[in-house]
Symmetry: C2
Subunit: 520 residues, 2 copies
C-alpha cells in the first residue's frame, strides 16, 4: 500500500489476485488495510488538501504529466502483470495504458487552459442606489479529499491513475484509492508511479494514498470518513448503491459518482436493415465481443421492426455469434454472474436464445449469446432491461416503428443510445433523437457505442441507473467538474485574494468580467 | 391553483394564509391540491418538457422577461397582499419584488448569452490511427420537470417566480410549484403572471403549474413523482432533509437543492475591534435586525478574542440590542421556534444572555437577543452551532487568535463566513481565508453578509448543512447549472443535430472547438 506516498504493508489478512486464465493465485500476497490505515490515509489527505488546492495550474499539470511519464517508464513489467491479473491480451492492455497516459496529458492541458476554474468577476458599483454593489469574485476550487474505487474491468483506465483519480487530482483534490483486489500487482505498480510523481513534484505526501483490501468493509469505512468529500466508483449497481447509501447516511452527505449499469440500446431502423444488413452484423458482432463483452458500453439491447429484413439480420448475426469462441473474462465473479444471468434470461417465457458461441480454452471463459424477445413481453417486464454483463445481447422485436418508439420511451437511463438509419427512416430517426437524449448521456447515429473517446465533448454518463449523477461525465475534460465547487469572495482585499481571481489575471485564466468574456 | 396554466380550485380542504401582525386568517380560503392534482401537474410538465427544452434561447429569454413585466403589472395589489401575508413593511416587499423581476431579466440575458449550454465540438479525425475519431458534439440540456417549494421567508424572491423557478425555466425545465401556505394570495397573483406569460409566449401549458396545500404530504407526493427530475427548496433543515430522503428513496433518485441552515460566522479580529469598534457595532446591529432577523444570511455567530476591546464592543452592542423593539416575524411558526430556541440557548451552562430588545406591538413579535459563550464550551458542544433563526446572535469569546482559528476549523458548512480585520491582523486574516473558503460558499472581508447580490459572481450556497449540494448556488446566473445535464452527440448527421451544436453556430453560442474557444 501507499500511505501518503510512503510504502507500507497492510497488517490485515493478505489478499492475492487471481490469474483468470488458470484460476490460480498470483504471487505476492498483499497485506490488506485496516480501519486505522483508512483513517491515516484520510488524515494525510486532509492535511495535504489546502496546499494542493493552492498549487498553480502549471504545477498541477506538470504533476499529471509526470504520472504519465512514470507509468510509461514501468514498461513491460506493467503490461505483463496486468495481462496476468486480467486475462486480457497484451495489445488491449497496452492500448489501455496509452489511453490512460493520454488522459493524464489531456487533463494536464485542460488544467493549464483553466476553463475549469470558471472565474467570474463582478466589479463594484459604489454609487449604485439604493445599495452599492460590492466587489464579487467567483472561482471553482477542489471539493476536498476524494475516495476512488478501482474498477474490476479496467485495470488501468478506471483504476489507480484512471479517469476518476486523474479528474480529482486535476481539480486539486487529494485521492485515497481503494485498489480492486483483481489487480493488486498492477495497482501497486501504478501506485508507485503516482507516489514517485508526488515526490518529484514536491507535493504534500497525502495527495495520494493507495489501500488494499477485499470485501466491502474497507470501502465503507473510507466513504464514511468525514474527511472524504466525494466518491468515484465504477462497478455493479449493487456496489454503487451501497456506496450511495453510506454517503447519504453520513452526518454530512457527500456526492457519489457511481457508474453502474447500462445496456446501451441500439435501434436498427427498417431502412438501415434494408440498406446495409451485412455491415450492421459485422459492426454489431465487433462491438458486442470487443474485450470479451466486458465494456460498459457494449450493445446489450437491440430493437428492430419485424419483417424479412430483421429475419435476415438475425440469421446472419446468429451465425456470427455461433462461430465465436468463448473467451476468458477478467474475474471468476464476472464469469459466474454472466452465466447465471444468461441462463435466467433464457428461461424467461417468450425469450428465445437464437445463438451461442463455442466453448473456449482455459478457465472462466464466456461465450457470446444472442436472444430475442417480443416488444410486448419486454414492455411488460421491466426486469428484462437488466442484461447479462458480457457478450450477450437481446433483440427486442417490434410490430412497427410506433412500438419501437414505445420501447425507447420505456428505457431506463443509459450511458449510450444508438440509432442506425437508412432510406426512408428520416421521420422515425428525427422522432427518436429528442427521446433518446433524455435517456442517455451519449447519442450515436450509424455507429457502435463501445469506444469512448477521451476528449472535450465526450459525455460518459447518463440518467440513473447508468450513473448515480446525470449531471456529470466520468470521461473527458468535463469530468473535472465533478470534484469542484464554487466560492465567492466579497470585498476581499487584493492582499488576500487568490491569484485565480486577482486583478491583472496573473494565471491567465479565461474569465468573465461583469458577465462578458474578459479580454485575454 | 394553476394546472398547466389553467386556473383550478383544489378539491382538498381549504387553507388560508394568516396575517402575522394580527394572527387572523386572510380571505379567501384556497382549496388544497390532491394526489391527483400532483399527478396531473407532473403529467402536463412531462408533456411540455421536450417542446420547452427545444425552444430557442431568444424565446426562453423573452418568456422570462414577460413574467417580469406581468409581475410589475400586478402593481399595488401584489404589494398589499404580500404585506398582509408576511407582515413585512411595504418598502421591503417592493424591494423584493424589484429584486425578483431583476433576477428574471438578468437570467433572460444569461439565457441569450448562452454560456450555460457549454457547447463543445470535437471535429472528426477520420485518418487517425489506430482508430479514427468520430464527430463529437456536446451541449447541456434541461434536466426535465422540476419541483419547486415556495419558501416561507421570501414571499416573492424565493417563491413562485423566485430563484429556483427562474433558474429552472431558464434551463428549459417545466416547473411544478408548491406554494407556501404562508403566502397563498401572493402566490396566486404571481402564478397568474407566470401563467399569462406562458400563454403570451405560446409555450406548452404544462411549463408551469402551481399547487396549494398544507402539511408535508403533497410535497412528498410531488418529490416522489417519477416525472420530476430535480427539486428546489429553501427552508428548515428538517424539511430539506425529509425531501432528500424522499428523493433518495425513489427508484430513480434525483438531485435535491435544499438551502437549509447557516449561522454565517463573523470573525472580529483584534485590530478591527481596536480600529473601528463603533462602526462594527452599527454594521452588526443593522445586519442582525434587517428583515426582523429573518435572512438566512444574518450574522448569527461572532467570534473574537477576549480583552478590553471586545468588552467595549459587547457593551455597545448590548446597549444597541436593548434599544431595539421587537418586530413581527413572518409566521407564527417562526415566532414560536425562535422563542423556544432562544430560551434553550439561554439555559445552556456558560452561555450568557447579555442583552434583549424591548417588547413590540402586535402579534408574533420577536426581540433581538445577544449571547456570549466561551470558546471552550462552544468547541465542546456542537449543538451550539445551531442558533435561533431570527435576530439572535452569539459571540464566541476566545483566548487568543489561535483559538479563534480553532473555532473556524470546527465550523459546519455555511452560506457565508466573514472576517473583519484591522491593523496588525494581516497574518491571522491570511490564515483564515483558506480555511473559511472550505466552510462557506461566500467569504467576505470587512462587510456584513446579509445582502445577497443577484449577479454573475454570486455564490449563495455552501457545504452541508447550509445546503444539500456544495457544488451549486441558488442565486445568480450560475444557479441555472443546477437544472442542466450534458449530452454528447456522436456522428449525428447535420439533419438531426440540434441547432445548439450545428455547424455555423446558428444560435451564436460561446463554444469550444477541439478544446479552444471558437471564434464568434
Amino acid at each position: 500500500m501507499f500511505l501518503g506516498a510512503e510504502r507500507r504493508t497492510g497488517r490485515g489478512p493478505a489478499v492475492a489476485s487471481i490469474d483468470p486464465r488458470t484460476d490460480t493465485p498470483l504471487e505476492p500476497g498483499y497485506g490488506s488495510g485496516t480501519a486505522e490505515d483508512v483513517a491515516r490515509a484520510c488524515e494525510l489527505a486532509e492535511q495535504a488538501a489546502p496546499g494542493f488546492r493552492a498549487t498553480s495550474p502549471e504545477r498541477r499539470a506538470t504533476f499529471l504529466e509526470r504520472i504519465a511519464d512514470r507509468i510509461e517508464a514501468l514498461g513491460e513489467e506493467l503490461i505483463v502483470r496486468a495481462v496476468a491479473e486480467s486475462g486480457l491480451p497484451a495489445v488491449r492492455v497496452t492500448g489501455e495504458r496509452d489511453r490512460t497516459t493520454g488522459q493524464l496529458r489531456l487533463l494536464a492541458a485542460e488544467v493549464r487552459y483553466g476553463a475549469w476554474a470558471e472565474v467570474r468577476i463582478d466589479r463594484p458599483l459604489p454609487d449604485r442606489v439604493p445599495e452599492p454593489r460590492p466587489d464579487l469574485r467567483e472561482r471553482h476550487i477542489g471539493i476536498g479529499p476524494v475516495a476512488v474505487f478501482g474498477a474490476s474491468d479496467f485495470p488501468l483506465g478506471f483504476s489507480v491513475a484512471g479517469g476518476d483519480s486523474t479528474a480529482a487530482l486535476a481539480a486539486g483534490c487529494p485521492v485515497v484509492l481503494k485498489a480492486h483486489s483483481a489487480h493488486l500487482g498492477t495497482s501497486e505498480l501504478v501506485g508507485s508511479a503516482v507516489a514517485a510523481a508526488v515526490r518529484e513534484s514536491e507535493l504534500p505526501a497525502g495527495v495520494f494514498s493507495l489501500l488494499f483490501g477485499s470485501g466491502a468493509e474497507l470501502g465503507r469505512a473510507l466513504v464514511a470518513d468525514p474527511r472524504i468529500r466525494a466518491v468515484g466508483f465504477t462497478g455493479s449497481r449493487a456496489g454503487g448503491e451501497a456506496l450511495m447509501r453510506t454517503a447519504a447516511a453520513r452526518p454530512e452527505p457527500v456526492p457519489v459518482y457511481a457508474e453502474m449499469s447500462s445496456v446501451n440500446p441500439v435501434f436498427l431502423l427498417p431502412g438501415a436493415l434494408r440498406d446495409r444488413s451485412a455491415a450492421l452484423v459485422e459492426g454489431f458482432i465487433g462491438a458486442l465481443t470487443a474485450g470479451a463483452g466486458q465494456f460498459r458500453t457494449r450493445p446489450g439491447l437491440l430493437a428492430a421492426v419485424n419483417g424479412p429484413e430483421l429475419a435476415e439480420f438475425l440469421a446472419a448475426a446468429g451465425r456470427a455469434v455461433s462461430a465465436q469462441i468463448a473467451r476468458t473474462v477478467q474475474t471468476r465473479a464476472f464469469h459466474d454472474a454472466y452465466e447465471r444471468a444468461a441462463a435466467a434470461l433464457a428461461a424467461v417465457e417468450d425469450v428465445r436464445e437464437i445463438a451461442a458461441g463455442q466453448p473456449g480454452e482455459g478457465a472462466n471463459t464466456c461465450a457470446p449469446r444472442l436472444f430475442t424477445v417480443p416488444a410486448e413481453t419486454f414492455l411488460g417486464r421491466p426486469e428484462l432491461q437488466d442484461q447479462p454483463f458480457g457478450a450477450a445481447a437481446t433483440v427486442v422485436t417490434c410490430r412497427d416503428t410506433a412500438q419501437l418508439t414505445e420501447v425507447a420511451r420505456a428505457l431506463r437511463g443509459q450511458l449510450t443510445a444508438t440509432v442506425h438509419h437508412g432510406t426512408g427512416d428520416r421521420d422515425t430517426a428525427a422522432a427518436l433523437l429528442p427521446l433518446l437524449e433524455t435517456r442517455a448521456g451519449r447519442v450515436l447515429y450509424d455507429g457502435w457505442p463501445t469506444a469512448v473517446e477521451v476528449s472535450h465533448a465526450m459525455v460518459h454518463g447518463g440518467p440513473y441507473p447508468a450513473t448515480s449523477d446525470v449531471r456529470t461525465t466520468s470521461v473527458g475534460t468535463l469530468s473535472v467538474r465533478r470534484f469542484l465547487r464554487p466560492v465567492c469572495y466579497q470585498d476581499v482585499p487584493a492582499d488576500f485574494l487568490p491569484a485565480d481571481v486577482s486583478d491583472g489575471n496573473p494565471r491567465d485564466l479565461p474569465r468573465r468580467l461583469d458577465g462578458a468574456r474578459e479580454h485575454r
